[in-house]
């Protein structure tokens, strides 16, 4: 079992029930579970949405879209049924937060879905978890079964006239399915390729019905907003970035782990105090602040608050909250190659700029790293990546291109050092080849 890591600066809102056995429904009820959804039964849908808007909650999957606003796009009247979709396909490299929610507090996800359902008038929800998380799917399925048994799901929930069904769905290994429209395709039993938008999911999503799709952490946060109050929740964070979030600290740190910290927490402090700094007396070289798709930051760029707006101002993204820390020993070309290798592997192949772009980037970076690259390759890599930006059906193309542009821009000297005909000058070629590079 994985746990949240402790630190004096941790503010336990979403992790309030972590480590307290709340996967058990009785324990969840003892810890004030399912009280917040019952509050919402007494509220008008618009009032629920306004509370979520007032909380300043923004999507924890990566884009940071205001959650209440997203819900408000769902039309009141609809000929087709509406749906709530939980995106628990967590697979952005550097991200390992949703799994803690599913493991420690699965009922908060159910409660979040129910509240979202009341807000937009949906009667069915799906909780989509990545296939690798089999043990979590079992925990989630048990939680759903227990909720049905208590009358919190099914017909006439909580003794009201409302019906609500939830199905737990497994993915089967595809990063692309974390993209909202691809997830809907997958849930409809198809290849996980993105859909052309508009129409957006709020209007025509799953099975063509209006759909709210939110990241698991986002929906699991919703009951807590009603538990502590929207204003109080908002006040924990910074302007337009309400509350707290789970930050996943990984890489070269003394104390990697998942920590719940206020939005806007200083990145330098996060690395040196919360994460315990860089091991073995090494120096910091770079930070990937929000999962592998976010542009890299240099040590002189980390005096920023970790919220969506401040990180964007610094030229990167808060993304999924996956903070990957690199010490001075890392070869940035190798790191860029490993990053792009992932996106090339996961590109669904549906649109050309992404399918071909990721493949060429991988080829060029491999050549640079292994030896045999020519001068113009470096500009070619940057040119290729820049031309993928904004030209793909879904953000996977951008997710591959953005960090690549950043690596070349900020570590150009290192890229040039690889033009010696022999490949990586820092790390002598290992005595084995990476299996799939």
């Amino acid at each position: 079992m994985a746990y949240l890591t402790t630190h004096p600066d941790v503010v336990p809102v979403i992790s309030f029930r972590f480590g307290k056995g709340a996967a058990d429904i009785d324990r969840y009820l003892e810890l004030d579970g399912y009280k917040d959804v019952q509050k919402c039964f007494q509220m008008e849908p618009d009032a629920i949405i306004n509370e979520v808007k007032a909380s300043g909650l923004r999507g924890r999957g990566g884009a940071g879209f205001p959650t209440g606003l997203k819900w408000s796009f769902v039309p009141k009247e609809s000929a087709k049924p509406k749906y709530i979709l939980v995106n628990g396909d967590e697979s952005e490299p550097g991200t390992c937060k949703d799994r803690l929610i599913f493991e420690h507090d699965p009922h908060s996800v159910i409660e979040g879905v129910l509240i979202a359902g009341l807000a937009v008038g949906a009667r069915m929800g799906f909780i989509y978890l990545r296939g690798e998380y089999r043990f979590l799917i079992e925990i989630m399925e048990k939680a759903v079964a227990d909720a049905y048994q208590r009358g919190f799901l099914g017909k006439g929930i909580f003794g009201t006239k409302h019906d609500f069904e939830i199905v737990v769905q497994t993915g089967a290994g595809a990063y692309e399915v974390g993209e909202e429209s691809a997830l809907m395709e997958s849930l409809e039993g198809k290849r996980g390729v993105p859909r052309i938008r508009p129409p957006f999911p709020a209007v025509a999503g799953l099975y063509g019905g209006p759909t709210v799709i939110n990241n698991a952490e986002t929906l699991a946060t919703v009951p807590h907003i009603f538990r502590i109050g929207a204003k109080e929740y908002a006040a924990l964070g910074t302007e337009r970035n309400g509350g707290t979030r789970l930050y996943c600290l990984s890489g070269h740190l003394e104390k990697p782990g998942v920590y719940e910290l206020p939005m806007g927490y200083n990145l330098r402090k996060m690395i040196y105090e919360v994460g315990g700094g860089i091991p073995n007396g090494k120096k910091l070289k770079a930070v990937v602040p929000g999962g592998s798709s976010t542009p890299v930051l240099l040590p002189e760029e980390i005096d920023i608050g970790m919220d969506f707006d401040q990180v964007a101002k610094a030229g990167s993204m808060l993304g999924s909250g996956g903070v990957v820390v690199l010490d001075e020993t890392v070869c940035m070309v190798e790191f860029a190659l490993r990053t792009i290798k992932f996106y090339q592997h996961e590109s669904c192949g549906w649109c050309i700029p992404c399918r071909e772009g990721t493949d060429w980037l991988k080829k060029s970076l491999t050549r640079l790293h292994m030896g045999g690259a020519v001068d113009k390759d470096i500009d070619q890599i940057k040119y290729l990546a820049e031309n993928m930006l904004g030209r793909t059906f879904c953000p996977l193309g951008d997710a591959a291109a953005m960090p690549t542009v950043g690596f070349v821009q900020k570590f150009r000297k290192e890229f040039e050092d690889h033009l010696n005909g022999k490949g990586c000058p820092y790390h002598p070629a290992p005595d084995y080849e990476l299996a799939t590079v």
Binding site: A2, T5, P81, E90, S91, E92, P93, G94, T95, C96, R99, M124, R130, G131, E132, Y133, R134, F135, V167, Q169, T170, G171, A172, G173, A174, Y175, S186, L187, E188, G189, K190, R191, G192, Y207, C248, L249, S250, G251, H252, P256, G257, V258, V288, S292, G322, V324, L326, V330, F335, R338, T339, F342, H345, E346, C348, P430, Y432, L434, A435, T436
Partner: protein, 166 residues
């Protein structure tokens, strides 16, 4: 599926599938979970699995194959009893994922997507498995092993070997 028809799945799994197709507004939504659960029981997605799943859902075998070829957890060939999946994505790479993969390869005497002659182990380099803060990590079948060193990796492999000989 009518009772008189035969199934290649265990009675438990067949019953689960009978229920699964009723959960969704459209039957086809059961496809991805059905294939994965079938693979768990049969070991891989065989032609027989594809045929029965297609029939249960009421789509063509080609529809099923299109989906199978998309998802990286789905495989059309058997793997070892213990499928060792080593993550080498960025967070694991920074903490020794590549060395771990190389070590497993040497210890097991097999490479990426290969199986030992006794069928006990197979090895695969995989993309991020969501263990970034507890890197490097390996998944054996569905079980996670995290914060590994070469020594603890050996222990993990030994434990599976011992489990198999019981």
């Amino acid at each position: 599926m009518p009772a008189e028809k035969t199934t290649i799945f265990s009675p438990e799994l067949a019953a689960r599938f009978d229920r699964l197709v009723t959960l969704y507004p459209v039957k086809r939504s059961a496809l991805v979970p059905m294939l994965l659960y079938a693979q768990d029981e049969i070991g891989y997605i065989s032609d027989a699995v594809i045929a029965e799943v297609a029939e249960r859902i009421g789509i063509t075998e080609l529809d099923v194959r299109n989906v199978v070829s998309y998802y990286s957890l789905m495989r059309t060939k058997p793997v070892g009893k213990y499928h060792v999946q080593v993550c080498t994505n960025i967070a694991c790479m920074l903490r020794g994922g590549n060395e771990l993969l190389h070590h497993c390869s040497k210890r097991l005497g097999i490479g990426h997507k290969q199986t030992t002659p006794d069928g006990l182990f197979s090895l695969e380099e995989v993309e991020c498995i969501g263990s970034c803060s507890w890197a490097p990590a390996v998944q054996v079948n569905y079980d996670y092993h995290e914060n590994l060193t070469l020594e603890t990796m050996d222990k993990v492999l030994d434990e599976y070997r011992a489990k198999a000989s019981k």
